[in-house]
Every structure is written in C-alpha cells, then in structure tokens.
C-alpha cells in the first residue's frame, strides 16, 4: 500500500471563491476590450435607459449589459434576432454569481466586416508611415482661396461657405463636387482632390469631407484610394468628416482633422476683422511709441536749446559789457568827483597873487614901518625935527661938552646946511633936566 501524502484541501468560503473568480476574470486582458459576435435574444430596454440582452450562438449564451451612458450613441433600434458585434469587458457580478459582458459599443454585424477591413488598412498605412506626424504640412495662416471637396447638395458646403464668408468676407472658395456616400463615391472624392491640386487652381487649403452619417455612410472616407489622395495632396488638406466615435482613416492622413465641416472652415479661415484689428493695434502702438519718443526728444531738445547761453550767446558779452560800462561810469564819475574835489579845494586856496600881494603888502608895510623907524632914527629926521649935529673940525660928532672947549670952531649940521660956529660958552645940562646925569 502506497501511502500518498495528501495535502489538506483548502476550504474556501463562497465569498472568497467569488472574489477569486471576479479578480481572475476582470483582470485578465483576454477578457477586456474584446469584440463579441452573436445574436440578440431576450432584449430588455429598461426605463432607466439601460439595455440588457442575451447574446447567443449555437452553443452558448452570455448576458450583455449595455448601460445608458454607453448606449446613448446607439442609432439603431435593437431587436431580438439581430446579428450584432459588441465591444466591452467581461465582468463578474458577485451578488448573483454570474458573469456578463459590459459593452460600450454595439454594431450590426455587417459592419463588423467593414470594421475589420478598416483596422487592417489602418495598420498597413501606419506601417508605411502614411500617418506620420512629421509628414504633415503646416496649414497656411492667410489663405486666399479655399478648395472644397464635398457634395454640392449637402449641408457641408453650405455650412463651409457661410462660416468662411462670415469670418472673411472676400475669401475665394472653389467647390469640386463629389459624391460622399456609396460605392462610386471614393472615385469622385479622389478626382476632386486631384483637380484642386492642379497649380492653375491656386488653392491654398483644401477641405474635404461631409456632414455626419452612419458608419456605412462614412465608408468612402476609409477607402484606401481616398486616404492616399489625402496623403499625396500637395496642397495642405483638412479632413472634415462629421463622425461620432470612430475617426475615418482620412483624418489620420490629412494635414489636419476637423470634427465637422464648419469646424474645418473655422480652422482654415481666419477672422479678417481680428487680423485687421491686430494690424491696427500693433500700428497704433508703434505710432504712440514713436510719438512719445519724439515728444521726449523734443522736450530734451527744448530744454537745451532754451538755455540762455544758446538763445543769446552774445549775452555773456553784453553782460560783461554792462559790467564794464558800469565800471567805466563809476570810474568816470569818481574821477569827476575827485577832480571836482580838487578843483574845489583848489578854489578854496586863496589866489596866490593876492597872497603874494598881501604878503608884499604886509612886508611892504613892515618895511615901511621899519623904514619909518629907521627914518625916525635917521639923523636926517632928527635934523628935520630941528636937531643939529655938532661936528668938530675933523667932522667928528661932538657928543659931549667935554669934547669941546670955549672958542673951538665947530660946525653945526642943520637939515639944510652947516653953520660955522665958534663956541662962546658952555653950559652944562641945558634944556634937558638938571637932574639927569650925563
């Protein structure tokens, strides 16, 4: 007997196993983001807006839940028995112990084939680098002429014209009419793009597209020849296909993709008014900046030019002249004063002639006085007064009686002559007082 080592079996709880199942299923990438094909069965459209049905094939069924916020894009009315493709994630509902697929997209099956074709083409083109970003051209800023490839009878062209003219009233638009749905459409679209690419057309930007429609309606814009026409367009091209969810392939090949034709027109055509205003805005800034700069220069200039020295450079000289004149005048005036002073002083000096005369007079007077005195003292005057000079024989003056004897012959000089006398007698004293000593 072989003893087997049997491991103790683990006992799970219902919750635990449920949790495991849930985790395994929901985290598995094989069950997320998958497409399922099947037939609708037991369709329920709930009042809440949520849609529930069973998807079945011959051998199995799976519950489908299509929530309101996911199914609002749904354009078709679902019915039991419809063959559909659904896209979503498998989820595990623990409370019921059941699984379902929670879908975000639903399509009729026919479309599935188309979808596949598109996916394959997309992959191929990506590989070839058709969608590469660096191969895209820049959309010109100010186009003069817009080329449009779309149906002449659709709303797209009318919207484009309206929007374009509103933004830029004098823009030129050329429509290359094409069919935008149906099997014969792609050819016309390609023709339109090629025609607008001709140099003589002088197109600046091409807008190619159509208004919204169903998936099949939009198919022409997924066809390879159309996508390549977008890619090879020398003129910058904007894809303008109104689509709901899936972008048509031409969006990836175009130089720019717009969600609608109107949006494309808004991208392609600038607002003329805005541009004109912008020009004027910059220009008025330029004008104002220059004028204020000129004003500043002018002020600086005025400040300098108005400096007195520049206005009247001779003023310095005038000033100096004034000073000079003033000094001159003062000088002259002072000189005059001085001269007057001296003159006055001179004038005050008594006339020298008079002075001399006075002195002479005085001296003369003195002289006369002296002369008089002398004269007075002069024997002549004595003689004049009656005195006489007694002279002896030798003509010496007899001063005393002692000098003579009686009978001497003396001369008496009188004023007018001499008396020859002989002394008779001598008397001591005579008329002169007897008291007087001799």
């Amino acid at each position: 007997m072989i003893i087997n080592n049997i491991l103790e079996p683990k006992v799970f709880s219902v919750s635990e196993i449920t949790r495991k199942l849930k985790s395994t299923i929901e985290r598995n990438p094989e069950f997320t983001g998958i497409w399922l094909k099947g037939e609708i069965y037991n369709l329920t459209v709930h009042s809440s807006g949520h849609i529930y049905f069973t998807l079945k094939d011959e051998n199995a069924v799976i519950s489908v839940v299509f929530f309101k916020n996911a199914n609002r894009h749904l354009k078709i009315k679902l019915e039991d028995g419809m063959s559909v493709l659904v896209f979503g994630n498998i989820t595990f509902f623990d409370k019921r112990g059941s699984y379902q697929i929670n879908i975000s997209q639903l399509q009729l099956e026919g479309i599935g084939e188309l979808q596949k074709r598109i996916e394959q083409l997309k992959a191929k083109l990506i590989k070839e680098g058709i969608f590469d970003a660096d191969r895209k051209k820049r959309i010109p800023f100010l186009p003069k002429r817009i080329g449009v490839v779309t149906s002449p009878t659709g709303a797209a062209i009318r919207d484009i014209i309206k929007v374009a003219l509103r933004r830029y009233p004098n823009i030129e638009i050329i429509l290359a009419p094409a069919k935008v749905q149906g099997d014969d459409a792609p050819e016309t679209i390609v023709r339109g793009i090629k025609e607008l690419n001709k140099p003589e057309m002088k197109i600046d930007i091409i807008i190619a597209g159509r208004g919204g429609g169903s998936f099949e309606d939009l198919m022409p814009f997924n066809e390879e020849e159309v996508v390549m026409a977008f890619y090879t367009s020398e003129v910058p091209i904007i894809s303008a296909v109104g689509h709901e969810i899936d972008k048509p392939l031409c969006d990836f090949a175009a130089d720019l993709a717009a969600p609608t034709p109107s949006a494309a027109a808004e991208i392609a055509v600038p607002e003329k008014m805005d541009l004109a205003n912008e020009i004027n805005y910059y220009f008025s800034r330029i004008k104002n900046a220059l004028f204020s700069y000129l004003r500043e220069c002018n002020t600086r200039y005025e400040n300098i030019i108005n400096k007195r020295i520049l206005k009247d450079p001779l003023e310095i000289i005038y000033n100096k002249e004034l000073i000079l004149t003033d000094i001159e005048n003062r000088l002259v005036s002072q000189m005059k004063d001085m001269i007057n002073n001296y003159r006055n002083r001179l004038l005050q000096i008594p006339d020298i002639n008079i002075l001399i005369k006075n002195i002479l007079n005085k001296k003369s007077h003195e002289y006369n006085l002296h002369l008089n005195s002398i004269e007075q003292l002069s024997p002549l005057s004595v003689l004049k007064r009656g005195y006489s000079i007694a002279l002896d024989g030798g003509r010496g003056v007899i001063k005393s009686i002692k000098d003579v004897n009686v009978n001497d012959k003396i001369d008496l000089q009188l004023i007018d002559g001499i008396l020859h006398c002989t002394l008779d007698s001598i008397e001591k004293g005579g008329i002169i007082g007897k008291n007087k000593k001799q």
Partner: protein, 101 residues
C-alpha cells in the same frame, strides 16, 4: 510610397504672418525705447510699410464662390455661384449640381 514634403512656393518674399510678427517686434522695439532717433524713425517707416502690406494682403482675395463642372469637351471649368451678401446663403440651390466625373 515616398511623399515629398513640399510647401507651396509663394512669389512674395514675406508672408502675411511674418509681416504681422515683424510688426509686433517693431512695436516692442519702439516701446523699449532703446533705439536712437534715426533708428526709431526707420523702424516706424518699416512699420508703416508692413501695416500697409498686411492690409493689402487682407484685401487680395476677391470673394468668388465657384463650382467646378465637367464641360462638354471633358475639360473642367468654373461656374460662379451667387451667394447672399449678408448671410452667405446660396441664392440658387439649383446651381449646385453634379460631380466631376
């Protein structure tokens, strides 16, 4: 498939967009006030020329709406579409018909 990245060569040496940019540069230069008097006046004159050029460029387009049609000889010709002045609506819906093929 090789695609040559060619841009449409324009006859004008300078585009509207470049002119507008240059205009803004001139405005900034003058506002900075670091140019001398002569340069400032020069730039001002350039500004006048550029503004004039820009306005002229805006008026170059001639407001023509046309549809291409296949003529009898097989040649493609243009036919003018009349549009309402104010709303941009087509005057005559009948004019818009056909395709190029």
């Amino acid at each position: 498939m090789e695609k040559t990245k060619s841009s449409k060569t324009k006859n004008e040496k300078i585009t509207f967009e470049d002119s507008l940019k240059k205009l803004e540069e001139i405005a900034e230069k003058l506002e900075n006030g670091e140019l001398g008097l002569e340069s400032s006046i020069n730039e001002f004159e350039n500004g006048i020329k550029l503004a004039k050029f820009c306005h002229e460029k805006l008026e170059e387009a001639e407001r023509k709406i046309e549809i291409l049609q296949k003529g009898d000889s097989g040649k493609v010709k243009k036919k003018e579409i009349k549009v309402k002045e104010d709303t941009g609506e087509l005057m005559d819906d009948e004019e818009m018909q056909g395709s190029l093929l």
